[in-house]
């Protein structure tokens, strides 16, 4: 069959004559030991929509990623206009005119909506910087096209999931590509939003764009597609024009056999009421949910992704706490503070996210399966492998798991076998209530049937089962009753026999004419608070200023020298040094890395610069600066290369390079010290001289900050640094060379560290191998206190300046009131803790406010 499909395609190409804009030819893709796609060939034609149909795990997303340049085929190739091409990065595919809407949006919560849309292809002004006006203008237009009504300046992280999906669509449209690939774009969208998207697609078809649509909903596929390609188990089963392919035929091709015999007969009686929820609500999840579950019953929860199904399951399993309502087990109200409590009440939850929440991928089968019953495997306190095998082997055998040994890592298993391990793991806890969240997602047809048979069997034995599924036939085929949810509300309940696909779908998607007035009021209230992020920013800066004043005012009253010109000059010169170093650290931190070696780089470059000035007094400033920058730049590049090419986490790499740079410095210096009279006066004047009362070093720091501002906020590369830290995988997905950006950040940080070293050497004149020892703590503290997030993606220049000033004002104040300088360290520590404590508090409040707005 496969051969036939491929041959038919080949003939089609010959007949049509003109080459397709893009095609896959005999493409094969393997990940580690598993083959995701095997010998698939198809083409996308101009002015046509090809729908890609297949069950989860059939290889659809792999096809998308091959065409998008995210993965390179292991065998076969991609053709553009009939010519063989190799996409090294998603950027190459973009350059070939291919735009992609990814299934999991590769978006950046810390950047604005407009930046998200234009990242990777930002409009430039005549200096090569970002043309903000053009970008905002373009963003507004394309947002209007997809029907998303939010200001283009809004920070993306504040949008809802469906709104973010629309931004992803807008991003793909903004590319004006000739090939558009849509990977399940409608999964999180409402009916109205889907209609809008289809209008756009129809328009693009008129303009000759070649499109590929990946989806699960048959209705949508048969509405939008011209041709349909069906995949099963990583193989292309065939490509047919829509007119030649009926729904039944398409489904048969997808699953490989008739659908009717998929679901087991179930006709036993249900028992007593086991679990009951009354008025269960949780902000941003669902509200006022009632449900009853009896022994031996399979209760279905239907609805779109994000309709609140999983959120209900999480509350029933004790992962989240409800805001209102109660859960009753056997008629008694219970509260689950944790998953453990729910497990003690004999509830088990098979999560929809197999890799993220069900299995530790590099653990063995045994360790995964025994995880919830570890205590049972440790009779005398010591864990026994044999006893653990005894515990889980029974279920694994019943599940007909195909495996080579209990010690085999689960990541080597196929999706279906992995799911069997998950089921065995939970069934071993002997639950009375089993919650199955998408239990057949991404598994092969055979295993699927086994899982269905098992569900029927367990129910027949009296287990109460909740089944959450996006597959309509599965819900209808398996469940005694189906509750349908839409946007967190219960919209319908069907008994077995009265549910049809159409009825369930309608209940799940019907646009809410009778929308909850409370929700409307809340969202209106939220709209009034749109400026919240900006206020927060103000508050942080205000807080730092207040902290400075809180130190400065009382100190000035005790010791008026605080505000003397000499003292202010000294503080400003220290601040200049610290701000340059903090900027270096910020560059690295925003890419989600850290540079612990910064002080060692400063020390090394300071010493090298000073010794060069000593050796060549005639060239003093020139050679000093050049040496320091060269040393710093090289050190930074070494760090960057070890992190990006060597794949070593930044914290480890720079921890080691810190010792290496220090050690090298110490060996080089061999205990020597360079004092003020060994260098030239001009070198010392480089920082000490005052222009209009301002020390030169401060002017230099201000210039560096201005350059930093231009780099970070006015160039595309700067925004890509933020993007790389905000969502590294997303950045790779849209073709940002993340590794090169990280290398750049380390290189720049090294360069700035070198410059800081030169300034240090000039300011302090006397230099030895221990310069700036322990300074990294102060540098990181300035960045953290200034609001640069260690998790990457966010931070402001004003923040680091104020952070650095705050620390120095505290230091200066303590010195002036004659507090022992040794105490300073403790105070810095306290300041860091207070700053991150307040940060977390603010972020939490913002999250709560957002969640309240989301519903």
């Amino acid at each position: 069959m496969l051969q036939l499909g491929a041959l038919g395609e080949a003939n089609a190409v010959v007949k049509r004559g003109a080459a397709a804009p893009v095609a896959l030819v005999q493409a094969t893709k393997a990940f580690g030991g598993t083959i995701a796609l095997k010998d698939a060939s198809f083409e996308l034609c101009a002015g046509e929509v090809l729908a890609l149909l297949g069950e989860n795990g059939a290889g659809k997303s792999t096809c998308v990623k091959l065409l998008a340049g995210v993965h390179a085929p292991t065998g076969g190739h991609v053709e553009v206009d009939g010519k063989l091409v190799v996409f090294h990065t998603p950027h190459d595919a973009q350059a070939a005119g291919i735009a992609v809407m990814h299934q999991h949006p590769g978006l950046f919560p810390d950047l604005s909506v407009a930046e998200n849309i234009y990242l990777g292809h930002m409009p430039r002004d005549r200096f090569g910087g970002i043309d903000n006006a053009a970008m905002l203008d373009g963003a507004r237009k394309v947002l209007a096209t997809v029907g998303l009504d939010v200001p283009a300046e809004t920070q993306l992280g504040t949008l809802r999931t469906s709104e973010q999906q629309l931004v992803e669509i807008a991003r793909a449209l903004s590319l004006d590509a000739r090939v558009l690939i849509m990977d399940e774009p409608t999964a999180a969208l409402s009916q109205r939003e889907v209609e809008r998207l289809f209008t756009v697609v129809a328009d693009l078809r008129q303009h000759g764009v070649a499109m590929m649509f990946v989806g699960h909903r048959m209705d949508e596929i048969f509405r939008i597609a011209d041709r349909i390609a069906v995949l099963r188990d990583g193989r292309l089963i065939g490509v047919k024009p829509k007119t030649e392919l009926g729904r039944a035929a398409a489904i048969t091709m997808m699953v490989g056999r008739e659908v009717t015999d998929l679901y087991p007969e179930r006709n036993h009686a249900t028992g007593a009421l086991v679990l009951e929820a009354r008025g269960l609500s949780r902000a941003s999840g669902f509200s006022n949910i009632d449900l009853k579950l009896h022994a031996g019953e399979v209760l279905g929860l239907g609805g779109l992704v994000g309709s609140g199904r999983t959120e209900i399951a999480r509350v029933l399993f004790g992962i989240d706490q409800p805001d209102a309502g109660e859960i009753r087990i056997d008629g008694e109200a219970v509260r689950f503070a944790s998953a453990r409590a729910a497990m003690d009440a004999r509830i088990a939850y098979v999560s929809e996210d197999r890799m993220g929440q069900s299995l530790v991928m590099n653990f063995s089968i045994l360790d995964n399966a025994a995880l919830p019953v570890l205590d049972k495997a440790a009779r005398s306190g010591l864990y026994g492998t044999d006893r653990a095998i005894d515990l889980v082997s029974d279920w694994l055998k019943r599940m007909k798991l195909r495996f080579s040994g209990y010690g085999q890592p689960v990541k080597d298993l196929s999706g279906g076998n992995q799911q069997k391990v998950v089921l065995a793991k939970w069934l071993r806890t002997e639950p009375r209530v089993l919650i199955l969240d998408e239990p057949t997602q991404g598994i092969d047809v055979g295993t699927k049937a086994e899982v269905h048979a098992m569900i029927a069997d367990l129910a027949a034995q009296g287990m109460a089962i909740i089944l959450i599924s996006s597959e309509m036939p599965e819900l209808i085929g398996m469940c005694d009753r189906i509750i349908v949810l839409r946007e967190g509300h219960r919209t319908a309940e069907f008994a077995r026999g009265e549910a049809t696909q159409e009825k369930v779908l309608e209940a799940a998607t019907k646009a809410g004419e009778n929308a909850d007035p409370a929700a409307l009021a809340e969202s209106a209230a939220g709209a009034g608070k749109k400026k919240a992020p900006l206020d927060m920013l103000k508050r942080r800066e205000f807080g730092l200023l207040a902290a400075m004043l809180a130190v400065a005012i009382p100190v000035t009253m005790i010791n008026p020298r605080m505000v003397s010109a000499a003292n202010l000059t000294a503080v400003s010169m220290d601040a200049a040094l610290l701000v340059v170093a903090a900027l270096a650290q910020m560059l690295v931190l925003i890419t989600r890395n850290i540079d612990l070696s910064i002080a060692a780089v400063i020390g090394l470059s300071a010493y090298m610069a000073a010794s060069m000035v000593q050796a060549y007094p005639g060239l003093d400033i020139g050679i000093g600066l050049a040496t320091a920058c060269a040393v710093g730049g090289v050190a930074g590049l070494i760090n960057g290369l070890v992190v990006t090419k060597g794949g070593i986490p930044a914290i480890v790499a720079t921890l080691a390079s810190m010792s290496i740079f220090r050690g090298f410095n110490s060996i080089w210096a061999a205990g020597d010290q360079i004092s003020a009279d060994e260098v030239t006066q001009a070198w010392l004047d480089m920082t000490g001289q005052k222009i209009a009362g301002v020390p030169l070093i401060v002017a230099i720091a201000i210039i560096i900050l201005c350059l930093g501002y231009v780099l970070l906020y006015r160039t595309a590369i700067g925004r890509e640094l933020f993007a790389a830290g905000s969502n590294p995988d997303g950045a790779r997905l849209i073709g940002i060379p993340v590794d090169r950006r990280i290398l750049l950040a380390f290189g720049m940080a090294g360069l700035l560290g070198g410059l800081c070293g030169a300034l240090w050497a000039s300011r302090y004149a006397t230099i030895d191998a221990r310069v700036a020892l322990g300074f990294e703590l102060t540098v990181i503290a300035s960045a953290v206190v200034g609001g640069v997030a260690i998790r990457g993606g966010s931070g402001t220049l004003l923040g680091i300046v104020l952070g650095a000033l705050t620390l120095l004002v505290i230091k200066n104040g303590l010195t002036l009131v004659r507090v022992d300088p040794l105490w300073l360290q403790g105070v810095y520590g306290l300041v860091i803790l207070v700053a991150i404590g307040i940060d977390t508090f603010i972020v939490r409040r913002a999250d709560q406010a957002r969640q309240a707005r989301a519903r």
Binding site: T28, A30, G32, T34, I35, K38, T74, G75, F317, I319, S338, R340, M343, Y349, S351, D353, G356, Q357, S358, L359, V360, M361, N362, F363, D367, A370, L374, D375, A378, G381, L382, Y383, G646, I648, P649, I651, V652, L655, A656, M658, S659, I660, R662, G663, S666, I667, L777, I780, A781, I790, D820, L822, W823, Q825, G826, G829, L830, I832, L833, I836
Partner: protein, 329 residues
């Protein structure tokens, strides 16, 4: 036999071979290396680091880190010294110091697990804070008049052997940690938590309490190390063990524990400890200073991790081509 061979980790084998090679090299080429006195000194000087690697290993396996561990050592050393100085009997001072260590660890643990802050930043803060408190309590001064029993513990060997008393706390605690990590449900939970915090949470493991407990343990063990350090140098002061956290973390990472969590065993970490202790000793005997030693160990860390990464990617390549062959036809 085959099973036994497979159970040996490639990394452990590499570390063991390196230890042996360097030991042999030193025995032949470095004078005074294989003297009982030198080896005894070697063991004594590693006493505190040996203790600190135990909780650090557990923390890094669970994806956390404790940068404040050397500061806790210093502060508990100061507390112990002050207690002894004010006339508290040694037998009462020791448990009080351990409790203080536990409390310091609990503060870290609460900030990390209770407030959900990143342990890297939290312990960076407490690293400065705890040492600062040490300075506030004792300034630059020191307590160096200690009870004879403590001094004896610090300098004597086990009767009839060359084994210093100071390494005994490690020799007692190490098997306990190893058994807990490899042979108990708690150990399995620690690995699960590091392997995937979400999976651990969904499997009914109380992840917050586990992290809190580990930080408390870290504080208590650091307090033990604080007492050992005080006894060994007959000195309680606030700048004790300055920068030791870096050495400790280096040893743990060199021992094959991944900062991404879920991986690594105490055997590897202990081999790394021995390796680094020998290297430092050999370098010191060859008149090479502390900074240069640090440089060599830094290079060793980066070099070994690079080798490990390339080894792994080569293996993945092999397994993929094997899979491709198997599915042909």
């Amino acid at each position: 036999m085959k099973k036994f061979l497979r159970s040996i980790d490639f990394w452990d084998l590499l570390l063991a071979t390196s230890c042996l090679a360097i030991f042999l090299y030193a025995a032949i080429f470095v004078p005074n290396f294989v003297s009982g006195f030198n080896l005894s000194q070697l063991a004594a000087s590693a006493s505190e680091k040996a203790l600190l690697i135990l909780p650090m290993t557990l923390l890094i396996i669970t994806r956390e880190i404790d940068l404040s561990i050397a500061s806790v050592l210093a502060l508990t050393s100061v507390i112990f010294g002050l207690l002894v100085q004010t006339g508290v009997p040694t037998l009462a001072a020791i448990p009080l110091t351990l409790i203080a260590g536990g409390l310091l660890g609990a503060v870290n643990g609460y900030l990390v697990s209770g407030l959900g802050l990143q342990s890297l930043v939290v312990t960076l803060g407490t690293m400065a804070l705890y040492r600062g408190i040490g300075y506030i309590l004792l300034g630059t001064g020191s307590v160096n008049i200690l009870p004879p029993a403590v001094v004896d513990f610090g300098i004597n060997n086990l009767p009839g052997t060359q084994i210093p008393w100071t390494i005994v706390p490690f020799l007692v605690l190490a098997p306990v940690f190893a058994v807990v990590l490899q042979k108990t449900p708690t150990g399995k939970r620690i690995y699960a938590l590091g392997g995937s915090p979400e999976v651990a949470r969904y499997s009914g493991i109380n992840t917050g309490r586990m992290v809190l407990k580990l930080f408390v343990v870290s504080g208590i063990v650091a307090a033990v190390a604080g007492i050992v350090y005080t006894a060994r140098l007959s000195n309680a002061r606030a700048n004790n063990a300055l920068g030791m956290e870096l050495d400790v973390i280096t040893i743990v990472l060199l021992g094959g524990v991944s900062v991404f969590g879920g991986k690594g065993r105490l055997t590897g970490v202990m081999l790394a400890l021995v390796l680094i202790a020998i290297i430092r000793n050999v370098l010191a005997l060859s008149q090479i200073g502390g900074d240069a030693q640090g440089m060599i160990i830094g290079m060793l860390l980066i070099g070994s991790l690079l080798v490990g990464n390339y080894w792994r990617s080569t293996q993945e390549l092999l397994s993929r081509s094997r899979a491709m062959r198997e599915t042909k036809g």
